[in-house]
């Protein structure tokens, strides 16, 4: 690790950010999706739960911008409200992952080589070996399907990710001379972790959080697709895809709209993450 690995707080962040194409694209997409989600809480063109069989399978029109589904619900309204589901699930899952994973990773790094380090990292490896989907299925079986279980399942999957990232990013920090300087200044491990390690790995964590958000959106879609996510009447992009599947031959539009929305959202978040990485962490930028 060289000097550029750790960067000083920069005054020109915003100026640089506005010139960074992928950050800008990603930020615009992410903000658009977030704004749509927020808007859907107070307004959608139509009631996204209103089933009116008489209106079923309408093609896109001025009234129904993306047409209607087999229950006569407005596809556009459902996609808008589906954003809330996706965002809520992936944010809570990242929250769970960070709240548990980061402290564990920091603790393991602070106690490097000791039994706590081994216990934490082996557990992380172990949880990692369980495909998240199996965790989701088990949770569904025990607690019934629902959005909470999706959050927990994805959250559990996020825990070892954040633990490893926090651990991996902290280790080189602990090797740095300023940590020894802090110890000479009488600081203990906890204080050093709080005052020196955490601020210095914050950018890495932010970048990882963005990546996990986009993975969370994909995972939520996959879980909803196989019926483990949010339950009707609350719309979800993944379940819309599931419902569209039998209509693939008749109305591919039903599968295209939610699918493209997922792609756009995940793409946006990934671009945002790449951009943040460039802007926050020059060393990692090269690896893009």
């Amino acid at each position: 690790m060289n000097d550029t690995a750790l960067i000083a707080p920069s005054t020109g962040f915003l100026r640089r950010a506005l010139r960074h194409p992928s950050f800008l694209t990603g930020a615009v997409i992410a903000l658009a999706i977030a704004a749509t989600a927020a808007l859907s809480l107070v307004w959608t063109p139509h009631d996204y739960t209103a089933i009116d069989i008489a209106l079923k399978m309408r093609s896109p029109s001025a009234d129904h911008w993306l047409g209607t589904d087999p229950f006569g619900r407005d596809t556009f309204s459902m996609i808008m409200r589906g954003a809330v589901t996706s965002i809520a699930v992936s944010f809570v899952a990242v929250g769970i992952g960070m709240a548990i994973g980061v402290p564990l990773g920091l603790l393991a790094a602070a106690r490097r080589g000791g039994p706590i380090d081994h216990a934490v990292m082996r557990t992380a490896d172990f949880v990692f070996a369980f495909p998240a989907l199996l965790i989701a299925i088990m949770l569904r079986e025990v607690f019934g399907p629902g959005v909470t279980n999706a959050m927990i399942a994805i959250g559990i999957f996020n825990v070892p990710v954040f633990a490893r990232v926090a651990y991996g990013a902290s280790l080189p920090i602990w090797q740095r001379d300023f940590i020894m300087a802090a110890r000479v200044a009488g600081k203990g491990r906890a204080l050093i972790t709080l005052e020196h390690v955490l601020p210095n790995i914050a950018s890495v964590l932010i970048v990882q959080a963005t990546i996990q958000l986009s993975l969370g959106i994909l995972a939520e879609a996959a879980l909803s697709y196989i019926g483990l996510g949010v339950q009707p009447p609350m719309p979800s992009w993944g379940r819309m895809l599931n419902e569209a599947q039998t209509y693939m031959a008749i109305a591919p539009r039903l599968a295209l709209a939610p699918g493209l929305t997922i792609v756009a959202t995940v793409l946006g978040l990934n671009l945002l993450g790449d951009g943040l990485r460039d802007l926050l962490d020059p060393r990692l930028a090269r690896e893009r």
């Binding site: 089933i51 087999p70 019934g144 009447p233 031959a249």
Partner: protein, 495 residues
């Protein structure tokens, strides 16, 4: 020669030519697909309908058999006599019948099978069917006398159900993986998750099948099934899962689409033992709140027949009660108010996995919302549905299709999941069960339907339709599905 004559001639010649080819080599194989894989192939050891769906009548036979119209017909029992008190059935067995492994079918076999099914350690899923049997006696190798504890009107029908299959004693242990029966087809191979293959049984006692090979594939996904039919990978899908795709098959001359009936009364079951559904006014209000037409249009593509009580329209004794509680939001609200059910009352609407339940449930939830009932949709897998709803009665409402034929008895059971408690109905059903006279029975069936509808025990939605899609040249498949089986014994290719 005019143009049209020439065309006609050409067509005739072409048809003749095709027929010639067909006559030279009529197809002797059939590939059909079913949505669910059977867990195993022993109908006497598992409840899954898919078991009978594969082996019933094709591989394994019973004393009687149920035909496409739902009537019991002679099978391994050539004929029978019933004592005047309706308690003693004497079956004359078909002679010279051999199992696929060469063992003989005799009165011994019948006694073995019936005794096994009702034994204390029996794991027969339909054990109650055998409960009325008091004794089974061997009169001679070709005659069996069965004495019942009480007259049982449906006994012949019950003896034709998959669970009453006759297995050879020597192969009972392996029946789950290698069923050995007396049917026109022998079990050949089961590629788990993919298909079950059957071949013609050359030693069959009855008229030989016109098919040499039958392959039953498992394709659960509607879009995969659609593509497989279109590609000609399968010849028939007797119970096609997606109504919305039928129009495409109808438009294609290669296919025949048959919308048939099943015995599956699809109901919105209410927990009669739980407040507020224990109040008949509330149940009536719910009945009025549900718009059957919308449900059928939305969930079944408009292709199901509505019912107003627990009885399918095609069966003898049916009474049309669909007009009893017409769709009326205002009236439903008034009734609820009268019964003291506040708007915004929450309820658990538990939905088992099948599409019909999930789709109907979503529509019904939105309909209930209009009368002020907030239904929380709780989807469940079968295992949990069985333990939570069916056994634990932990639900307010659920949607389920009762596919067993002539199952009015469930309303007379103690402690059944929807918890209907009516001594009057119990008495009525006892009378039905003891009645062997057909006309009298039919009349009583009518009374039972009226009584159930009056009490609005459940909301009866529709009879589960059966969408058969198959190659237009194929004939002899069942149009209806009185019991959930795929009888291919009469199937053949058009010549």
């Amino acid at each position: 020669m005019s143009f049209s004559r020439r065309v006609f001639l050409a067509l005739t010649l072409a048809t003749a030519g095709l027929m010639g080819v067909a006559q030279a080599a009529p197809r002797k194989d059939l590939t059909l697909a079913i949505p669910l894989e059977p867990p195993h192939l022993d109908p006497t050891a598992g409840a899954a309908a898919a078991i009978g769906g594969v082996v019933y009548a094709n591989v394994i036979e019973s004393l009687t058999r149920i035909d496409g119209a739902g009537q019991p017909k002679p099978s391994l029992a050539e004929s029978w006599t019933i004592s005047p008190d309706g308690k003693v059935y004497t079956f004359a067995l078909r002679k010279g019948v051999q199992f696929h492994d060469g063992s003989a079918f005799t009165a011994e076999t019948v006694k073995f099978n019936l005794d096994r099914a009702r034994a204390a350690d029996s794991t027969n899923p339909q054990k109650p069917l055998f409960e009325p049997i008091d004794t089974v006696e061997i009169v001679d190798p070709a005659t069996v006398k069965v004495t019942l504890k009480r007259p049982t009107g449906l006994f012949l029908f019950n003896m034709g159900q998959p669970a009453a299959a006759m297995l050879t004693p020597g192969a009972v242990g392996d029946a789950k993986t290698k069923p050995v029966g007396t049917g026109p087809f022998k079990f050949e191979k089961w590629s788990k998750g993919a298909s079950v293959d059957l071949v013609r049984n050359p030693g069959y006692w009855g008229p030989a099948s016109k098919l040499d090979k039958v392959s039953i594939k498992i394709i659960g996904d509607a879009s995969a099934a659609f593509a497989a039919l279109m590609a000609g990978d399968i010849d028939a899908y007797p119970n096609f899962p997606a109504a919305e795709q039928l129009d495409q098959f109808r438009a294609d001359p290669r296919f025949k689409v048959v919308v048939g009936n099943t015995e599956g009364e699809t109901i919105l079951a209410m927990n009669n033992g739980r407040k507020p559904w224990d109040d008949v006014r509330v149940r009536r209000a719910v009945s009025m709140a549900v718009d059957r037409k919308s449900v059928i249009d939305g969930a079944m593509y408009g292709l199901a027949k509505p019912i107003g009580s627990h009885f399918p329209p095609q069966d003898a004794g049916y009474v049309d009660l669909t007009g009893k509680y017409p769709f009326d939001v205002a009236k439903a609200q008034a009734l609820l108010k009268e019964a003291g059910v506040a708007p915004g009352t929450k309820l658990r609407l538990v939905l088992p996995p099948p599409e019909y339940a999930r789709k109907s449930g979503e529509i019904i939830a939105s309909q209930l919302k209009k009368v002020g009932l907030e239904a929380e949709i709780v989807p469940m897998e079968w295992a949990q549905w069985l333990s939570d709803v069916f056994k634990g009665k932990n639900f307010d409402m659920t949607i389920i299709s009762h596919v067993e034929p002539l199952d009015l008895d469930i309303y007379a059971r103690d402690d059944y999941y929807f918890d209907y408690k009516s001594p009057a109905y119990k008495a009525l059903y006892a009378e039905i069960a003891a009645t062997t006279d057909t006309a009298k029975r039919i009349e009583l069936y009518g009374k039972a339907q009226q009584m159930l509808a009056e009490d609005a025990v459940n909301v009866w939605l529709y009879v589960l339709p059966k969408f058969g899609v198959w190659n237009a040249k194929l004939k002899g498949l069942w149009e209806n599905m009185p019991i959930p089986v795929n009888d291919v014994t009469q199937a053949s290719w058009d010549e």
